[in-house]
């Protein structure tokens, strides 16, 4: 395959395009609300009207406004229909010819801030192309960057480009991607690996799933560019079994790319080989931790191990391994295409580019948003999210899942980036934003996340295995109004200890939801504790108690 052939495929695809294209969402969210039947209905309606020559019905990836699915959008006019039912489809097709015809489906506002505030890089193709057709990805400019990189750039130049772009790991920790690549590239080894971490498991997070279901080739291209840059010839995508649709589409995508000579041996007839295999996780959250993930790929129990050595030095089967998250890889092709300066012009001083968030919880508009780093939470929650339904009041915003914390409503003007969220005791994390209203008790929120961490602890190290159990028990005791101030002290001491002593990120961050709610919502803990007294003798409590008693 040469560049000319690639461009030919793209041109052919564009020439075959029909006048009108009806895009029907086929990502997991919309499928669960019956979008396949909607698509079938649209196809039948087009056929019945005899318009097959001028209208195309396409299955596309996530159209972002998940809360209002199934979504259907018409090109080129841009009209978007929400919550489309199969019986609405005839009227949608009829309206394409007859302006007067009445459409029974709800017409959405394609200029709503939910859409207009987005800046799509990772999701640029999402909702536009058919994820199951490599030709559509190629028509959107796909795989040209991989070609360019192989023939026009040295590995060093690619790493330099990524470093200058300022891209930071989108898996949560925000480690500079270019630096990670450079470290692995410098390792002297015959064999190196690239791993894509698609074990997205935070409650309320579905960004990576959407990317993989909507634009799998983009992730493959990013991985291939990374492999070229660091000198790897094999890669793995570690994806959780709970994402069957994403797995299916990835498998198809890998097969298609292989067939065209874009993956596998001698890519684009160059000396560069890169094959990708999929490994399916068996449902352990901790396998998103890189050392546990690597153990799991090796066929071992998915337990983390102490670092160093970092995977960059000794990873999969002891070889230097680059491990990045889905979203990080999805950013690579656009950065190579548009240049580091372009990418670093977006975002804040230390956090460049955009971030995809899954906006959920007590908010009117739920779905997927991609916004520049530095967008304020107010913009996200009120303008894009439309605030809380039924006029409720925002109490807090949870980010970073079980490793993150809650940002109180008073800090809602905080621009979202790695540093600002860290200052507030939470993290950007993989990108779940859960809006919490004033009906929710924050102790309950902390308890929920602690229960999650307790259940997902692998059991290897003591602080996490036994500590999360005790913290959950103490939180339950507080929530049930049975705790005393001594229990709260115990909880805080335990939080600090588990944070400092645990082996891996899961345990080290498990106390975060408690620490963060204690920081901003301590009064809710105190209120639940009330004037409960410790039963055993405690001089300070007794003296406090006695000070209010008059001596007779």
């Amino acid at each position: 395959m040469e560049l000319k052939e690639l461009i030919n495929i793209a041109e052919q695809q564009r020439n075959n395009a029909k006048k009108i294209r009806i895009r029907c969402c086929s990502a997991a969210g919309c499928i669960s609300s019956d979008s396949p039947a909607v698509k079938k209905g649209l196809e039948n309606a087009v056929k019945a009207a005899g318009l097959e020559d001028s209208i195309e019905v396409a299955s596309v990836g996530c159209m972002k406004f998940c809360g209002r699915g199934p979504l259907v959008q018409i090109d080129p006019i841009g009209t978007i229909y929400e919550q489309v039912k199969p019986e609405d489809t005839a009227s949608i097709v009829a309206a394409l010819n007859d302006q007067e015809a009445e459409v029974t489906a709800t017409v959405g506002d394609e200029n709503h801030p939910f859409f207009s505030h987005q800046k799509t890089i990772v999701l640029e193709n999402s909702g536009h192309i058919d994820p199951q057709k490599i030709e559509e990805y190629i028509a959107a400019g796909g795989y040209q960057q991989l070609y360019r990189v192989i023939y026009e750039k040295t590995p060093e130049a690619v790493i330099d480009e990524i470093t200058r772009s300022g891209l930071r790991g989108r898996g949560g920790a925000g480690y500079p991607t270019g630096l990670k690549w450079a470290t692995v590239a410098k390792m002297d080894s015959q064999q190196k690996y690239v791993i894509c971490n698609a074990d997205e498991g935070d409650p309320g997070a579905f960004m990576d799933r959407a990317v993989l279901e909507s634009d799998p080739h983009k992730v493959l291209e990013g991985m291939a560019i990374a492999a070229y840059a660091i000198g790897a010839n094999a890669g793995y995508i570690y994806i959780r079994a709970e994402y069957p649709l994403a797995i299916d589409r990835l498998q198809k995508a890998i097969k298609q790319a292989k067939k065209l000579g874009i993956l596998g041996s001698q890519i684009f007839d160059s000396a560069f080989d890169f094959k990708i295999e999929i490994r399916v996780g068996a449902g352990a959250y901790v396998c998103g931790e890189e050392t546990a993930l690597i153990a799991s790929i090796e066929g071992k129990r998915g337990n983390p191990r102490p670092r160093p050595p970092y995977p960059a030095q000794s990873g999969l089967w002891g070889y230097p391994t680059l491990i990045n998250n889905v979203e990080s890889f999805a950013n690579i092709a656009p950065i190579v295409r548009e240049g580091a300066e372009w990418y670093s012009s977006i975002g804040t001083e230390k956090s460049k580019g955009t971030k995809v968030f899954a906006l959920t919880g007590k908010v009117k508009n739920t779905g997927l948003i991609e916004v520049p780093m530095g967008t304020t939470l107010r913009e996200i929650v009120y303008e894009m999210g439309g605030g809380i339904p039924d006029g409720g009041v925002v109490k807090a915003v949870q980010t970073g899942g079980p490793s993150g914390g809650c940002i109180p409503a008073s800090e809602i003007d905080t621009p979202v980036d790695y540093e600002n969220l860290r200052k507030l005791g939470t993290i950007v994390g993989s990108g779940g934003i859960i809006v919490i209203d004033n009906q929710t008790n924050m102790v309950d929120v902390a308890k929920f996340y602690m229960e999650f961490s307790e259940q997902e602890s692998c059991g290897k190290c003591v602080p996490c295995r036994a500590g999360t159990v005790q913290m959950h028990e103490l939180l339950t005791k507080i929530f049930d109004r049975k705790a005393t101030l001594a229990d709260l002290d115990k909880l805080e001491a335990l939080c600090r200890m588990v944070k400092d002593m645990s082996l891996c990120g899961l345990g080290q961050t498990a106390p975060n939801p408690v620490l963060s709610t204690l920081r901003f919502f301590r009064e809710e803990y105190l209120e639940l504790i009330g004037d409960n007294q410790e039963l055993r003798f405690n001089p300070t409590i007794v003296s406090k108690h006695l000070s209010g008693v008059s001596h007779r």
Binding site: R465, T468, A493, M501
Partner: protein, 238 residues
């Protein structure tokens, strides 16, 4: 062989390059509490008892898996570490059924000794009283999983020294437990050679010789390090 010099608790010491902080400390008579470490086996950094502070690194490191470096400044016994270790030990005692008075290992127990060494007298956490079962199907040995602290020394000794890999871990979190064979009764596991290495490796009363009574079981603590040294360094005598 290159040598590194480092400071532990203000004391300047030398260590072989590639040694762990734990090894270096031990060679110089500095005590760092451990549970999952056993000389002769690979180290996994799981029990977190050996955590130390290293100047310039903002997180605690486990001494058993951290290699010494030139000029490293290590503190093994700060107030914070002491408090954390004690609390860690309290968590261990709350999570299992560690009732010394009725245990075969009483007074010959590494867990007990380490608890004393870190100054743990009672646990402030609530006891979980697990019921993980007792397996007495093996003709010579028995395992009481309620006394297990999941140090995985039995798993490693059976895999690394004996080469039988009878033991492994099943489930996760609080439910994690040591299983034999394919989660069969120990007595039915054909791979078991009845060598007794796991009994010698176990730091608590979890794995014991059958027929031993409360506080009378003696283990051969030096056996595993001896076997490892014999194999690796050809030192055939103890």
């Amino acid at each position: 062989m290159s040598v590194k010099t480092l400071t532990i608790n203000g004391e300047l010491i030398s260590a072989r390059a590639g040694d762990t902080i734990l090894q270096a400390a031990k060679d110089n008579g500095i005590y760092i509490p451990t549970l999952c470490h056993l000389e002769g086996l690979s180290d996994i950094g799981a029990c977190r008892m050996c955590m130390v502070e290293v100047e310039g690194i903002n997180k605690l490191l486990s001494a058993c898996v951290t290699e010494v470096a030139e000029g490293m400044v290590v503190a093994t016994n700060t107030e914070k570490l002491k408090e954390y270790r004690r609390m860690n030990m309290e968590l261990i005692f709350a999570e299992g059924n560690h009732t010394c008075a009725v245990c075969v290992a009483n007074s010959n127990c590494e867990l007990q000794d380490t608890a004393v060494a870190v100054g743990m007298e009672h646990t402030r956490f609530s006891y979980r009283f697990p019921d993980r079962g007792v397996d007495l199907s093996h003709p010579q040995f028995g395992i009481d999983r309620n006394r297990c602290i999941l140090c995985t020394r039995c798993v490693r000794v059976c895999d690394e020294i004996e080469g039988a890999h009878v033991w492994d871990i099943a489930n996760r979190g609080e439910e994690a437990e040591i299983v034999s064979g394919l989660n069969q009764p120990w007595g039915e596991v054909d791979a078991c050679t009845a060598c007794g290495k796991c009994v010698n490796a176990c730091p608590t009363g979890a794995i014991s010789y059958k027929g031993s009574s409360v506080a009378v079981m003696q283990r051969d603590r030096g056996r595993i390090p001896f076997l490892a040294a014999a194999r690796e360094k050809q030192q055939w005598t103890r």
